[in-house]
Amino acid sequence: MTRIATWTASHAGSAALRGDSAAILAPLCGLLYYLAASLELALRGPDGVPVLSPQHGVLVALLMVTPYERWWALAAAVVPAHLLAGWNSGPPVWLLTWQALFNLGLASSISTALRLLLGQRHPFDGLRDFSQYALTGAIAGPALLSVFAPDVTLAWLSGNRDLALACWQTGAVASALAILTWTSWIYLALLPRPGGLQRRTPQQYLEALMIAAALVACFQLAFVSDTEHHAALYLFFIPLLWQSVRFGVDAAAMAVTLIATLASAAERIPHSVRIRDAPQVAVIDLQIFLIVMTLIAVVIAIVVDERRRVAQAASESDARYRAIVDSQTDFVCRSLPDTTLTFANAAICRYFGMPREKVLGVQWLQFVPSDTRDELRQALGRATPANPTFMLKHPVTLPDGRTGWHEWTNTAIFDSEQRLIEFQGTGRDITALARAELALRQNDERLSFIARAACDMIYEWDIARGEMWSSSGGERSECAPSVRQVSVESWGNYIHPVDRDRVARDVSQALRGSATTWESEYLYIGRGGPPRWVRHRAYIVRDRNGIAVRMIGAITDRSDRKNLEEAHRTLERFARLAMVGQITASIAHEINQPLGAIRYNAEAGLLFLNRDSYDKDEFQEIFDDIRRDNRRASDLVTRLRELLHDHELRLDPIDINDVIRDVVKLIRVESRQRHVQLETQCSDLPTMLGDYGRLQQVLLNLILNGMDAMATQPEACRRIAIRSIRVGATRIQVEVADRGCGIDPVTLPKIFDSFFTNKAQGMGLGLAIARSIVEAHGGRIWAENNPDGVGATLIFQIDSLGSKVILSARDNTDRHGARLN
């Protein structure tokens, strides 16, 4: 038993006695002492020599378990009890009193010495404590103190030194024997220790009974039987040691007490224990025999007890450890090198739904799907004494046939010759985690594949932490795409130097502002490779204070679209040139007219100069005319440049009626040559935001288309009416109505599609381009056959409000390649 338990038991025993009042303690002590003292008198040898002093044993035991402050009660009880016991034995009262006081002094001195020496420790807990107890309490104490025994003192004072020595000798040994036997069992009885007699089984009681019978029989043979059986003394030790081994120190103490007492009472000292034949010496021989026997029995009992306690502690510790291991939700196991399980905790048994005895002996590799076993065997084989610990993550086949996932931390145990003995492992079920991981990985892959399919790179920039993750889709790698962390700096390097500063500036401006979206187009070079046009769209996440904390975006490869736009623009340019080519005569005429007027005015002026006198007013008029015509010519050139110039959509405040008038002028000669009459009907319209040149182009296309439609009509019928009206509050509508053959209702919705034409020489681009321009203005264009059944009207409608136009135009930028600056 541990020392803490001993202390607790000791404390409990002391408390029990302390709880009793002195009134109970004193008579109890007195009674016990009286009985012990009476027994001592009864046990005296043939010459009145004391063989055993039970009163010493009783007193020492009582004093050891009684607190110091209660000792007075014991002391008060001892003297009367001693007087009472010895009243009829002969000695006078003073001698009896002396004897009582001596007994008290001896017992208290030994008790005090033992208490000081042992402290809270139990004298029978271990060999060391018992040896201290035996040496101090049973040998040194009685030997030293018996000097002051009354009979020794009296013999000494009477000058009979031999008698004094003999008295000291027998008294000391009698005390020693009593303290070894009586004190031991009383002490153990008063402070019962866990695991003592109270927890014996019936079989053990039977066994104890048999031992007792054997002891009695041996006692009978050795001490009582007239026939001396020498072997009986040795036989004695068999039940005694059996008892010590089986029933512990308290039983041993009781047994030896009983034997010693009975032996003392037997009034017969067997020959076999005698060393010398003198009666007094024979008593000493008996006492020595009993002491040796007691010591052997008690020491063996203590050693066995100690071992048993250690074993019990180990077993308890093992049970505790097992309980802890079994209460774990994690798996704990031990296995042989071939993975045969030698230990498995309850979690494993629960997990596989098998009792422990079935789990043990099974190779745990059997729980693993067969295709993974070789891989695991290799992993197990890699463990070395230098690197014994390793982690395994592997699938397992669950009892229901499904596959789960385990994660194990294993340690390989090697013996002193570095041979693998076993594996110890702790693991857990990570099926849910593995499934979540798999789902995440699949999701990630899916996202990346989607990103790659769209030629996109998707990224997230944690601005606050300065971290950036991006899909590798943009790199067009062939390996499985995944999201990886990239540095913000390297991101900047992916942008072509031409655009780098601009993009950086735009981004920081967007982040500083309050916008939640940002987009840009730039040349992307990635990690080398040819530059590609990309469109970068991002969403900016802001905190409560509006500070940008994250930016999530997608980068789309626009090279192909950009090329398409370029092609579209080139086509548009050619279409425009072709269109202008159709009206060259018109244009030449329109330019020639003012140039001609200027020329004539100049000639006139020169002729005036050659005259002697000339009219100053006439000159003024000439110059005014020249200036006006020059302006007219340059205006025309400007308009032409607008028409021909290849610029991106530019929105200025314009009057659509000006556009109509200019176009009609430009096409006048053409219409004259084609015998087409142009009529205009312009309403009063608000200024609108538009691209002058592009709208000229639209109108020219519509008018030329109308002229083409009327080519087969009689000349007198060829008439085109151009009308501008306001629709609703803000929309401006321009109609170009011809009197041609009309449009087949089937093809009506397609006439604005690219490459759709009914004309033998047409490219089918004029109307498509007209539509793209109108849509870039946020407007729409359509065609209707005239209600009277003759000819068709092409109509476009544009909102005059700039904001709407810009918004709509931006939406249409993609489709038609026109852009707003």
Binding site: A585, A588, H589, N592, Q593, P594, L595, G596, A597, I598, R599, Y600, N601, E603, A604, L606, L607, F608, E618, E621, I622, D625, R628, D629, R632, R668, V669, R672
Partner: protein, 121 residues
């Protein structure tokens, strides 16, 4: 002074060319379309007609044909002014001279003089 009928739909051309002709000492009557031209021909009996070829409604060629067929003014010399001279002989034969416009004052005067000379004959 010889009378010149100037036909052009463009007011500015009429103004400037008319001014030049007057400096060259001609009487000028101006018409912007064929109807006015016919009226003025009848009213002023011009010595020479100077017409633009490209005009809306009726061109200079139409007017020339009309005059050529007129019993009274059939011989009136007609000078055409054009940026794109006609190629066919029939059209060319309608005119006394075809001048490429804009023309220099000397060329105009030379053509006018020649036409007037022919008209006197």
């Amino acid at each position: 002074m010889s009378v010149v009928l100037l036909i052009d739909d463009d007011r500015r051309i009429r103004n400037s060319l008319g001014r030049l002709l007057r400096v060259l000492s001609y009487d000028v009557v101006e018409a912007s379309d064929w109807e006015t031209a016919l009226e003025l021909t009848a009213g002023h009996r011009p010595d020479v007609v100077l017409t633009d070829l490209h005009m809306p409604e009726h061109s200079g060629v139409d007017i020339a044909r009309l005059l050529r067929g007129h019993p009274e003014f059939g011989d009136t010399p007609i000078i055409a002014l054009t940026a794109t001279p006609p190629r066919d002989d029939e059209t060319i034969s309608l005119f006394h001279t075809i001048l490429e416009k804009p023309c220099a004052a000397e060329d105009l005067e030379r053509a006018l003089s020649a036409a007037l000379q022919r008209g006197k004959h």
